[in-house]
Symmetry: C2
């Protein structure tokens, strides 16, 4: 690969690329969009199997996408054109017999305003741009078989690491010291480290290890759990708390081994937890996961799954601790794949309807004041006619670190 | 901090907050901007000493900023108002006697188009928004004494880790195996892990360890060096190459220990490097750093510093290898602080003029085909009347890993 100066742009097989482009084209039809210009790294990776700097142009008028590449310039292939700047694209399209598409949809939910303005000027767009982000979000919410297989591989590797966590613990460790050993173990098993999140608001490093009352520290981010973090520049996660006997340690760390990530949380403890509420809440978290996984079929409303979970929590009188205590998250699950915050969202006002091939992380968790966080998270694939397939398979009970 | 339910929003001292706000107000005057609404995490951190979800409103008509907080809702203080959504802000401003500011500047270079549109609708802005990003970029390019001290602390910790790198190496290691041990060492010394980059284009995990020809693999990102990476979803850095005798190992890893990061690169080798071009290029990299550090004073043009370096490279006939070989980076240095890509930029067409308090990472590096990457990078502070102050102090020569 490094020996010659050129390399094929498309790393997906033609069949896999066709499947993904086909999903995007269907979503374009559903959204009344005829041209789409993609530059977001996650979407470029979805469409080609690699990240490059440039644009993928998709039109319902032509069969194949056109790839405009800025960096690296060494990429080649069918329909691949080197450009230095976006302003060159309209002339290219004209030379290919495509009229200057003044209504091309752009990724408005992730592209900075200035970058959108530049593309609009280049294309001489006369009016407000059309938002192509929902098209890509819809297309990517249903995984292909290859994507499912990549996620299963990530889940299997993440499971191996979670099973090994007790061997990484030493008495007297702080949350961050344990997290650092887990990070190393993840990396040695092939974790890429990168925790891809859509949009600029959410920031996280390799995930969270939460113990004791730090789990109740509110965070500015829309993650399910908080934590004060080590520094107010990144206020989430471990804060240097000592792991104390009888306290839960919640581990929710990076499962990105393949470019398609899984999301798994398990609760550990240093010696048995005696708090009855914590034990009850943890058992309920497992029950919710199993019940929702059983009920989640194609055609089911995501909001109904949230309400099923909320009803179970209400019946157990654990509402004050559900999805946080001082601050509550407004969802119990989310789509996952190339990024950690994909569709569908399992939330009370979600309008998402489940489809076969959705990949969903369910994380019904609890924060018990004075004790810490308990509960589990699994990543599931929505199947045609049975319960969701769980692809994060570490033991679900509270595992003793000793 | 976790015992009560409220916490003071402003983590900077009043004097430090005033200094930073003063810098922003001066940049607003320079840019003919009278109102500014900030929500980017890095800018919010600059202005308050913490990241929260919400907005900081600065107007030249009033003395103090107004803080609108969405999450966490527990933050309190003078001029702090809880909101659930941005649409509540105009009414708040009216109730404070401030006319609805229809020409408020927004961070257009980093805020997604959809988010800008939402703010524009909330404020009933009649025309195109004004870009406030250059204001914040200008303000942050000159560090306060406290920021300089935070960077010196990051530099000192990063230096300790770099000095310890030979002890982490074992014969038979790959680049990524060595990198994982360096990552652990960084984290154990307090590195926050997060590598803050402005904008959505550049992605990196904890930095790069490059050995052998992998250094010549072009990357899509605007970093100085490339590398194929472990996976095409993150094509930069270590690719699993064996560290071989006589080959350089370039280490350029995360120096974010305080929220203000330093950037340092050192070259190591497993046994002595015999390639004369590599040795000459490494020595020249050191010479360039020293010469540029000596010449860089307030009032000097950044482009002149680039040209000084380019002339030295030309005189040594090392242009084919400078800042890459198959693909060349177009700069030799960049501002650094809360983010890795700040102003000023040391590039041929940069219009930046140096000022006291600039923090600049200089990285004149070389890629020798068949050998690998050599050279160094230091972070410097621009001082009033002397050479720049180097704050990354590991030995600059090629250090043997054995």
């Amino acid at each position: 690969m490094h020996d010659n100066n050129n390399e094929r742009l498309l790393l997906l097989t033609a069949a896999e690329a066709d499947r993904r482009i086909g999903r995007v084209r269907q979503a374009m039809l559903d959204n009344h969009i005829s041209e789409l210009l993609i530059s977001d790294n996650a979407n470029v990776y979805y469409l080609t199997g690699r990240v490059f700097r440039g644009f993928v142009f998709i039109s319902l008028d032509i069969d194949s996408p056109i790839y405009f590449v800025r960096r690296p310039a060494s990429l080649t292939g069918s329909n691949v054109y080197a450009i230095r700047k976006v302003e060159e694209i309209p002339a290219f399209l004209s030379s290919l017999g495509l009229a200057n598409p003044t209504r091309v949809a752009l990724e408005l939910d992730t592209t900075p305003y200035s970058a959108v303005s530049r593309v609009m000027a280049a294309f001489a767009m006369p009016e407000l741009p059309t938002n192509g982000s929902p098209v890509m979000r819809a297309a990517r919410s249903v995984k292909t078989q290859l994507e499912c297989d990549e996620m299963r591989r990530s889940g299997a590797m993440q499971t191996l690491v979670y099973k090994n966590i007790p061997s990484l613990f030493r008495e007297g460790m702080t949350d961050i010291e344990l997290q650092i050993e887990i990070e190393r173990e993840l990396r040695l098993r092939g974790c890429l480290g990168q925790f891809r999140v859509s949009g600029p608001e959410m920031e996280i490093f390799m995930g969270n290890v939460l113990t004791g009352d730090n789990a109740d520290a509110p965070s500015p981010y829309d993650f399910a759990m908080g934590g004060a973090g080590l520094n107010p520049s990144l206020p989430v996660g471990a804060d240097g708390s000592l792991v104390r006997p009888g306290m839960p340690v919640m581990v929710d760390v990076n499962g990105n081994f393949t470019g398609h990530m899984t999301d798994m949380t398990r609760t550990y403890s240093y010696g048995p937890i005696s708090d009855a509420t914590a034990l009850k809440a943890h058992a309920l978290s497992i029950d919710i996961c199993h019940a929702v996984a059983e009920a989640a079929r194609p055609g089911v409303a995501a909001a109904d799954l949230y309400n099923m979970a909320a009803d179970m929590v209400k019946a157990a009188r654990l509402e004050p601790y559900f999805m946080g205590h001082r601050q509550h998250a407004g969802f119990i699950g989310h789509g996952v794949g190339i990024e950690i915050n994909e569709a569908p969202v399992i939330a009370p006002r979600s309008r998402d309807i489940l489809a076969e091939g959705n990949a969903i992380a369910l994380e019904p968790k609890f924060v018990i004041p004075g004790i810490g966080a308990v509960g589990i998270e699994n990543t599931y694939l929505v199947t045609d006619d049975a319960a969701m397939e769980c692809i994060t398979l570490a033991d679900e009970g509270i595992t003793d670190l000793c």
